[in-house]
Symmetry: C2
Subunit: 496 residues, 2 copies
């Protein structure tokens, strides 16, 4: 029961007043938020690391945090050019140092020229530095075969998460049966469920088809939409492509069908495309929603509202800590776009070092630049290794009885399905745990491997999964996959 | 009127469907948000800059953006040690370079050691890097004469704004007359009004006393609280000390009285202390709410809930672009604190470069370090110049008839009161503008000086003010103040 403030009689027996802010009186929407990627299993992993440091004996010597797509934490080296430019921007005294290639110096000067007071320490305009938005527009145009992009439709952000939440915020309205509903895939990246809970909007689930490599089916979108109407007012459709946690890469025809559906049903499209550089499977190719939309021509190209998100955290860069990203909006009502600008201005600006880093990504060295060869080699090496790891992961899991893993066509995760024996399921339920949480917790305690239970992303009732990044270095990944498979076999025997 | 999604009949005469997201259908709370510091006057300043670049003739040659506390944009040089450490963290190849002092290298190694994968590019834990939170706790202890600080109560953030909004988010609950009310000063920094509008909480205004140098009076707090009860449920009290935009520094007795009031009335205290290093006036001293609270002893020290905010954007650092900051919570319900941790984890982590920069601030060079002398000299120079500018600003304004300026005891702004002739007020109203907006807009158009009208911060009915930073370099500040005073005289003549 909520307390009335100023209720002086509310003094407990021990003479303590009750706190103003308690679980009972706090924001109930915040209480409902769940975020499995950093949930209880990760907190336990942190504790185990501490115990190891304190010399507590464990059946393993190291905790492997395969719970999150954090490339550099897993040992991936930063791309040299990116960090050279950034160091020069941070400490311009280095601009005269011969230790830096000439194009890195030129680039840093260009970025600083575009900063207030020629310093990363000044605020930028709220939508991000003009130069960087312009070059992001050129980058999108190159990606999309020349389809124009307008820098005024690009807003830089604090990672992609920030921009996704901002757009969701704009969309939330209504109460009861007119409350905004947002269609999200199941399994999903839990930022979406968390943000919708916080904003008190209605999460409308559509299921990806595990039997068809996590394909998106418009009939299923329609089912979800029809069931939601009446309870809420569905106004937006989120797509994650390449998929997180599911790793599928959408075919072009599928994207067209989704756009047609969104247009007919009047849904604002949100395309989470942060893994656009992470496509590995033969025959798979990334198609941006923007490009497909534009190539479909009117009325889609001229009317369908779309927001597409990108980030410096993934791709070949893996610069998660810098929190750089952007959103491009297409066909957005100009008055709403102004409101979005205003909303962003309250938080002043995205981190300027992340903006500078983004500039090196949207405007990488070209063949005539001194840094080109090294940049290209480093980039290719990261992407080639990721492709090999994607293949290896799928392969090792599919050799294990009771584990089935769809191809990791893109992104950075496998989301294999695990069979859990009925006795294990029952035991978990007695403990008040989701069965896959029980499995993952046992895995962590016995092997030091930290993965996230499928229940944190959503899955069809009665199926169990986990999400694991493919990011550990090759020499660690193979034993990790084998340990995991063996643990599953042992777990299965134990509960059979 | 809100549209029903899927309402296919909603096709306008021109064959265009109405947009899904329009001013009518968007989040009404976001529409209500206002943020004057980056409002219409700043947009016009940007346009004027562009016109100047295009060679359009103006009565001035430069736009001076005195609207925002952005030290480096105004030419303040970054502190060398901070940037050296950061450059080393960004590009560890430099760790072997003899161009960097030994303590900067040691420091960078220490920070990198605490980062995932020893890289700024990895995510940190959501509450921020453990090492940095520990050293922030030591920093707070030194500031507060040894009163203990617990790193587990410190959460790093994306600037102070992020942490302020997070705490407000926790506090928001209820509907109608039980809706959370939050007491904020008038004049206020408009982050507060903007966040409360966005969160659909009730803004409860208490007025600072301009006649007594913007002092905070508990009788006025009580008036505001009593009037608010019945309409809403007041649950938090925000204090900005040193004041923004008002520049006052609170006396210790005043802080004690505020704490007693908050305790009696069961209000969660939010102390915005981002200007704690910016105290200039003789006789003024910064007292942290935490220190005063602890020195008051039980029941205050053991029960009163408090959140105190700090940032790397202000002080002597002025590193706004890095978006670094933290909040320390005191006496917060541990279960709520866990919820706060969870909420922060959805956004993954604060920008790691900003965290690293914060480390150099909370753990500056000590006398035995090679960088100490230079660090100390640069720090003192910035603060001494700010003190001189604070004095000059007050002095020049108070020499101008019709302008009255309270002492700028601290922070980075003057908030002078201007008399506007009744005919100017009337003319502004005919244009649909707040009279001080009209004055500031005319000032901008005729002199290139960009300041923010008092109406953007709140002021007593019938009074007019503007906020101006004292940050322009000395050689620009004096002519700027004189131009501004002369413009006011001319404006007064014109409308008399």
């Amino acid at each position: 029961m909520a307390l009335r403030a100023g209720d002086h009689s509310r003094v407990a027996m021990n003479g303590l007043k009750e706190k103003v802010l308690t679980l009972d009186t706090m924001n109930p929407c915040v209480r409902r938020v769940e975020y499995a990627v950093r949930g209880p299993i990760v907190l336990r992993a942190l504790e185990l690391e501490q115990e190891l440091r304190q010399g507590v004996k464990k059946p393993f010597t190291e905790v492997v945090r395969a719970n999150i797509g954090d490339a550099q934490a897993m040992g991936q080296k930063p791309i040299t050019f990116l960090r050279q430019v950034l160091a020069l921007c941070v400490h311009p005294d280095l601009l005269n140092s011969p230790d830096f290639p000439e194009d890195a110096r030129r680039r840093a000067e260009r970025i600083l020229q575009a900063c207030g007071g020629h310093s990363l320490g000044a605020y930028s305009v709220s939508s991000g530095i003009q130069l960087i938005r312009e070059d992001a527009a050129r980058y999108i145009e190159r990606r999309d075969g020349g389809i124009p992009a307008d820098p005024n439709n690009i807003f830089l952000s604090t990672g992609a998460s920030d921009a996704i939440v901002t757009v969701l915020k704009l969309l939330v309205a209504g109460e009861g049966p007119t409350r905004t509903g947002v269609l999200i895939p199941i399994p999903q990246y839990p930022l979406y469920s968390a943000a919708l809970a916080e904003l008190d909007a209605v999460q409308v689930d559509y299921y990806l088809d595990e039997e068809r490599a996590w394909a998106l089916d418009v009939a299923e979108l329609r089912r979800a939409l029809c069931q939601a109407r009446g309870h809420c007012c569905p106004r937006a459709l989120c797509i994650i492509n390449p998929g997180n946690p599911t790793g599928q890469v959408q075919a072009r025809e599928c994207i067209e069908a989704v756009i047609r559906f969104a247009f007919e049903e009047r849904l604002f499209l949100m395309a989470d495309e942060v893994y656009q550089d992470n496509v590995y499977a033969e025959g798979s190719r990334f198609h941006s929603f923007k490009k497909v939309l534009m190539e479909m021509g009117p009325p889609y190209a001229t009317q369908q509202e779309l927001a597409s998100f990108h980030s410096v955290s993934k791709g070949y860069m893996g610069e998660c800590g810098f929190r750089g990203g952007y959103v491009e909006v297409v066909n957005m009502d100009p008055a709403v776009q102004q409101q979005m600008q205003k909303l962003m201005s309250v938080r002043l600006c995205p981190p300027v070092p992340g903006q500078a880093l983004l500039h090196t990504v949207v405007s990488p060295p070209t063949p005539s630049d001194p840094s080109f060869a090294q940049f290209q080699a480093e980039r290719q090496a990261v992407l080639a290794e990721l492709a090999a790891k994607a293949k290896l992961t799928e392969q090792v899991f599919n050799e294990a009885p009771g584990i089935r893993c769809n191809p990791v066509q893109g992104a950075m995760y496998a989301f294999p399905r695990v069979q859990l024996p009925p006795r294990a399921v029952q035991h978990a339920q007695e403990l008040g745990l989701a069965p896959d949480m029980f499995f993952c917790m046992r895995l962590l305690e016995e092997t030091g491997i930290c993965v996230v239970p499928g229940s944190g992303f959503g899955q069809r009732e009665g199926t169990y999964h986990f999400r694991m990044t493919i990011l550990p270095p090759m020499e660690k990944l193979r034993p990790l996959l084998e340990t995991l498979s063996q643990f599953h076999a042992k777990f299965t025997r134990e509960y059979s």
